[in-house]
Amino acid sequence: MKAKISVLIVAAALLALPAAAQETPQSIVTAYDALADTILSVRDAELGFVAAMLDGHLHAAKTLMSKGDVEGAAAQMALFANEGDNNIGGVRKRLLEGGHHFNADGEEQGIYEPGYVIVTREAKQALLEASKELRLAAGDVERLAAWDKFATMAKALLGGAAKTLGAG
C-alpha cells in the first residue's frame, strides 16, 4: 500500500510539470536521495542489530561462566553460533521468504548460511564445537580452553562487524 502511495505522489508531481520541463524536479531528486539514505542505512541497522544481539549472548555467556553455570554458558555460546534462538530463526525465515538475503554473495559462495548476517558457516561450526567442548570438559583447564576458543572467535566476529559499521 505504501509503495502504491509513493508511486502516486511521484506520478502526480511529474504530471504537474510544465510541458517544457526536461529535468526531474529537484524536490523529487532530493526526496529520492533521502530515501536512498534510508534504504542504505537499513543494511547497517540490520548489521548493528544482529551485532548487538550477539554481543548480548557473548556477555551472557561470560557472566554465566563467571558464576560457574557451564550449562547456561554453553547454551548462550550455541545461540551466538546460531545467530539467535528459534524465535530469531523464525524471523530470519520470514525475511528469506520475502527474498531478503543479507549476504547474498556470501551465501552463493557457501560462506554464509541463508539469512545469516555475521556468523560464517566455518565460524558456526567452530563455535558450536566450543560449546560442546565446554559441556563435556572434565576440569577447569579444559573448560577454560573451550571458553577461550569461543571468546576469541566471537570477539573477532563482532570486531569485524564493528569495523564494517564504522566504515559505513
Partner: protein
C-alpha cells in the same frame, strides 16, 4: 502366520535395584556377517488398497508428503493389525477420489481382512499421519489421524469398533505427525501434532510447477512457503482436550516445516521428551521439565544440526540405544544428496553427530529418505537400520543427470560392530521393490519373533516386508504398557530398550519392547522401569517368547 506369541504374564513389582550400566561402546552383534532377507507379501496377504497423494506430476508440495501407517492390535486378539492413512487423488484441478483410510485385521493365517467399514475408521479426509495411544485409559488403542483439514481422534470402544471424538484435538490445515503420550505426568495421554505448510485446497488445486530443478520445472517449496505451527493438546479427561501449546513451552516459534515426531526419554529422567524433525530448518529438541512444561534445547544440544552446524531437511526419525550405554541415540532422515544423521546421546542432552563413524553417509546420500527404524532385524543383539525412500519430484525420472528417480529402493543396513553395512542388494525380493516409499511401521506381524516392516507408498498399495532372515540369535518381546524402559542382562551383555512413541515418518510402530539377543542361552536379569521410577526386577526370564507385565 500364527496367532500371537505365547505370553508369560508377570506382575509388576517395585524393586529398588536397576541395571548398572558401564561405559559406552558401540557393540557388535553375535553374527560375524549378517544375513537379512525380506519378502513383500502385501498382495497375497490382501493388503491391496492404494494410498493416494494428489496428481502423478505433483505440482504442489502437498502432493509429495505421502501418508503414514500404523501397526497395532486394535482388537486385542494378540496379533498386529494394520491401519493405512489415505490421501486424495487429483486429476487436473479437481478432486477425482477421496481416499479412505483402511484398517486391515490380521487373520492369523498370513492374510489380512479389510474391516474398515465394520470398525468405523474409514475417514476420507486428505490424510497425512497416524498416532496410536490410549487417551481414555481403557487399555484399547485409539487412533489419532492427521489430515489436510480437520483431524480425527478415533476412540476404540473395545469391541472392534471406533467412534470419532467430537471436538477432539486437531490443527486446521496441513497437520502431519501425531503422537499420544503422557506429557504432563498426570496419568493420561495428551496429543502433540506437527504441521508443515500453511496452504489452502484452492492453492493445491491451482498449483503449477514453478521451481527450476535440473533443467525441469518442479513443485515449489518448502522455501518460500509459510510454515504452520505445531500443536499440543492437554487431555482433560472425559474426551475433552484443550490447546496448551504456548503454556507448555511447545510453541513452534520458528514456524518451521515439521514432519516426524517422537516422544522418548532422552535424558533418562523417566519422562518423555520430544524430538521433532523439521524440513530445511533446525530440528526441535524439547526437554520435558516434569511439570507439564517443556524447554527447547535443540540448538545447544547438538541434535538440531549436523556436524557442520547445518540445518538439514528432517523428514523422519528413529531412536534406539546403539552404543549400549542405556541412552537412546537418534537417527534422522533427510533429503536427496544429503546424509541421514545419527546423533549419539552422550547424556544430559549432549549429542554428537557420529554419522561418518558409523558409516552411514555413503548409503544414505543419494536417496530421499523418510520413515526409518533402529531395530534388531537379524536378532544378533544390535540395532540395524531400515529406511523408506522415494523422491518428491516425479520429474526426477526425466532428469538422468540428477542420478535419482521418483521411485527408489529402500535401504537395509546391518549393524556390524558399530559400523553399518548396506545389505539392501542382497536382502531378498522385498528390497527390490521400487516405490516412492514414505511411511514405515515395525512389528512382528507373523508372530515368529522377528520384526516385520510395513511400508506405505505414494499412489500405490503398501509393501509388507515379512522378515525371512535366518535368525542370528534368540529374541524376547516384552509387553509393558506402563514401562519407560526395559533392561536385560545376560552374562557380560546388556541391552536397554526404550519406550518410543511415534517416530519414523507420520507412523506408529508396535509399542512393545523387542530384543534380539544373539547367542544368549538364558537371561540373568530383566528390569522393567516405570515412569514414576518404580522398578520390577526378574531373574531367569525365559527367551523366545513374550513377557507381559501388568500393573496390579
Amino acid at each position: 502366520m500364527s496367532p500371537g506369541h505365547p505370553g508369560v504374564h508377570l506382575g509388576l513389582l517395585a524393586a529398588a535395584v536397576g541395571l548398572a550400566l558401564g561405559p559406552a561402546a558401540f557393540t557388535a552383534g553375535d553374527a560375524a556377517a549378517a544375513e537379512l532377507r525380506f519378502v513383500d507379501i502385501a498382495a497375497p496377504a490382501g493388503v491391496t488398497a492404494p494410498t493416494w497423494c494428489g496428481r502423478p506430476e505433483k505440482p504442489h508440495i502437498m502432493e509429495s508428503n505421502g501418508t503414514g501407517l500404523a501397526v497395532l492390535d486394535y482388537d486385542g486378539d494378540g496379533d498386529l493389525d494394520l491401519y493405512l492413512v489415505n490421501g486424495w487423488r487429483l486429476e487436473g484441478n479437481r478432486v477425482a477420489e477421496r481416499g479412505v483410510n483402511r484398517l486391515y485385521r490380521n487373520e492369523g493365517d498370513g492374510t489380512f481382512a479389510d474391516v474398515t467399514a465394520r470398525a468405523g475408521v474409514g475417514d476420507d479426509g486428505w490424510g497425512s499421519g497416524v498416532g496410536v495411544g490410549d487417551v481414555d485409559g481403557d487399555g484399547a488403542p485409539d487412533l489419532m489421524v492427521t489430515n489436510f483439514g480437520a483431524d480425527v481422534l478415533y476412540r476404540n470402544r473395545g469391541d472392534g469398533t471406533f467412534e470419532p471424538l467430537a471436538d477432539g484435538p486437531g490443527i486446521d490445515g496441513w497437520s502431519a505427525g501425531a503422537i499420544l503420550f503422557d506429557a504432563d505426568g498426570d496419568g493420561d495421554q495428551d496429543v502433540y501434532l506437527t504441521a508443515y505448510i500453511d496452504c489452502t485446497m484452492e492453492e493445491v488445486l491451482e498449483a503449477q510447477p514453478e521451481l527450476d530443478w535440473e533443467g525441469l520445472k518442479v513443485m515449489l517449496g518448502p522455501f518460500g512457503l509459510a510454515g504452520l505451527g505445531n500443536g499440543y493438546f492437554e487431555n482433560l479427561g472425559g474426551g475433552r482436550f484443550r490447546d496448551a501449546t504456548v503454556e507448555a513451552g511447545l510453541a513452534d516459534v520458528g514456524r518451521y516445516y515439521s514432519f516426524g515426531v517422537a516422544a522418548v526419554d532422552l535424558d533418562a529422567d523417566l519422562d518423555l521428551d520430544l524430538y521433532v524433525a523439521n524440513d530445511s530448518n533446525p530440528n526441535y529438541v524439547y526437554d520435558n521439565q516434569g511439570d507439564g512444561t517443556f524447554k527447547e534445547v535443540g540448538l545447544w544440544s547438538g541434535a538440531a544440526l549436523d556436524a557442520m552446524g547445518n540445518a538439514q531437511a528432517g523428514m523422519g526419525l528413529a531412536a534406539g540405544d546403539l552404543d549400549s550405554d542405556g541412552l537412546p541415540d537418534l537417527l534422522v532422515t533427510n533429503f536427496h544428496k544429503d546424509v541421514s544423521t545419527i546423533y549419539r546421546n552422550l547424556g544430559d542432552f549432549i549429542f554428537e553427530d557420529v554419522t561418518r563413524q558409523m558409516a552411514l553417509s555413503e548409503a544414505t546420500y543419494m536417496p530421499l529418505s523418510w520413515g526409518t527404524t533402529l531395530s534388531d532385524l537379524d536378532l544378533d543383539g544390535d540395532l540395524d537400520v531400515f529406511v523408506a525412500n522415494g523422491h518428491i519430484y516425479p520429474q526426477a525420472d526425466l532428469a538422468p543427470q540428477a542420478g535419482t528417480s521418483f521411485r527408489q529402493r529402500n535401504l537395509l543396513l546391518a549393524n556390524e560392530g558399530g559400523v553399518f553395512r548396506d545389505l539392501s542388494a542382497a536382502a531378498g525380493p522385498g528390497l527390490e521393490v521400487l516405490e516412492a516409499s514414505h511411511g514405515l511401521a515395525v512389528g512382528d506381524l507373523d508372530g515368529d519373533g522377528d520384526l516385520d516392516l510395513a511400508v506405505s507408498n505414494v499412489d500405490a498399495p503398501a509393501t509388507l516386508l515379512r522378515n525371512d532372515s535366518p535368525p542370528a540369535g534368540a529374541w524376547l518381546m516384552v509387553s509393558a504398557p506402563a514401562a519407560m524402559r526395559v533392561g536385560v542382562v545376560a552374562g557380560q551383555r546388556r541391552w536397554v530398550r526404550h519406550r518410543i512413541v511415534g517416530g519414523s515418518f507420520l507412523s506408529e510402530s508396535d509399542p512393545r519392547f523387542h530384543f534380539g539377543l544373539g547367542h544368549v542361552q538364558a537371561i540373568d536379569r530383566l528390569t522393567v522401569v516405570l515412569a514414576g521410577g518404580a522398578r520390577s526386577r526378574h531373574h531367569g526370564a525365559p527367551i523366545g517368547r513374550q513377557l507381559v507385565f501388568q500393573r496390579h
